[in-house]
């Protein structure tokens, strides 16, 4: 192990790294050292995001870290499942269109696969595939019987770009992300385009998650939102 620059504890930013070419600060000879790029400039932050360098858990063997651990937070066990269910509910209300800060109008739909499971050590699972399984009676019955959403294939449209991916609940991350790439030539160009699209898709999902948090942690959750979701599950439009 060889720390690259032990005296340098630069500001960590978890978010907000937009794909912006780094400004050329002159040749190596002109600068007279080996510094290729000045990475001290903070990237443009998305709304609602802040540095969390001291709020994230330490590494697996880092016993000396003073950072409070969020890794084993009890909410981590259910937050992803509830988020997926909320996403499904929101995708079926208002024609699946959401107005998101920073991204604008986003269309969202559950695509061609949704998986459920019960809790416990010996879980039962349901895997609905093909067509639009989220609209089927079986899907709602899975929720009625207390199953949680484990994975959903999601379609998303922002501006003229369509994304398709599978969203897992634990951990919540994108799998099988298909992006609307247009560049076919040039390694540099393909990397920039695909990283831009990956960060856009991830940023939208993050923003949706923050909307979910806004509702889930508000005082209106129990009296208003939760009953609405239950009515939707029961097929009772409210």
């Amino acid at each position: 192990m060889r720390p690259l620059d032990p005296d340098d504890g630069g500001g960590n930013m978890l978010f907000g790294g937009s794909v912006v070419p780094t400004e050329d600060t002159g040749s190596r000879e002109e600068r007279g050292d080996l510094v290729d790029q000045d990475m001290s400039a903070e990237p443009a932050a998305d709304p609602g995001r802040r540095p969390i360098a001291n709020a994230v858990p330490s590494g697996p063997d880092d016993e000396n870290s003073e950072a409070p651990s969020t890794r084993h937070h009890p909410a981590a066990a259910f937050l992803g499942k509830e988020f997926l269910l909320w996403l499904w509910w929101r995708s079926e209300s208002g024609y699946g269109n959401l107005e998101l800060p920073h991204y604008g109008s986003v269309d969202l739909w559950i695509d061609d696969r949704i998986q459920f499971r019960t809790g416990g050590d010996d879980p039962q699972t349901s895997d609905l595939k093909g067509g639009a399984p989220a609209t089927s009676a079986e899907a709602k019955m899975a929720l009625v019987s207390g199953k949680t959403v484990e994975t959903a294939s999601v379609g998303m449209r922002v501006k003229d770009r369509e994304f398709y991916f599978s969203l897992r609940s634990d951990p919540v991350e994108l799998a099988g992300l298909k992006v609307p790439g247009e560049v076919n030539d040039g390694v540099d160009e393909r990397i920039f385009e695909r990283m831009f699209l990956l960060e856009e898709a991830t940023g939208i999902v993050d923003t949706l998650f923050f909307l979910f948090c806004e509702e889930r942690l508000s005082a209106d959750w129990n009296p208003k939102t939760l009953p609405s979701i239950r009515s939707w599950i029961a097929g009772d439009p409210r």
Partner: protein, 208 residues
Amino acid sequence: MPLLSGAMGARRFLVQNGPASIRHELLLDSLQEAAFREPPSAARGGENMGWVSHGNLVVTEFTHEDTFYNQYMCFSLRVDNKRLPAKLLKGLLDLRIDAWKAETGRERCSSQIKTEIREQLELELYPKQLPSVQVYDICWDLSSHRLWLFSNSDRVSEKVRELFYRTFGYFLLPVGLVELVAGHERAGDWLPALDGIGHADYRPEVSR
């Protein structure tokens, strides 16, 4: 190569205490030191891993042009695994043991002899066996201290975290939902509120 084409499965990490100022040559040197190397002997099995160029898994010389793309540092983890087919090994081992019994006139073969025969067999078979090869792309955003691993596998994730720490001296912290909450400007309200909630029961009243 999900970094360049095809569907992407991606996991996010935060590079803990990532440096504000980076010397690319040092990063390349570190990468080079932990580059993938063929095992010293072809007659050994097991796992072997190291960094390779993101463009070609047999290229282990890292150049500035093929590694740095503005704020991104791109490379791949190559994991080779060489195993012998268990059923083939058992079949050949049984034949060798039978031959040993016939040759020595003994009815039983001790476990020590079995081990020796097995090791001899492995020495003969491993050089003929090609490893299974897996490659996982990595993109390190040096400006935001985020790292993208193009795999959703926990096992791969742990390998990358371990080798990344050994290579660069930085921990990779997986970014989960609670970390997202902790990174939001309303974390001061939301984190305590998270402490006070449990899994909601979404079942309609009639089914409870």
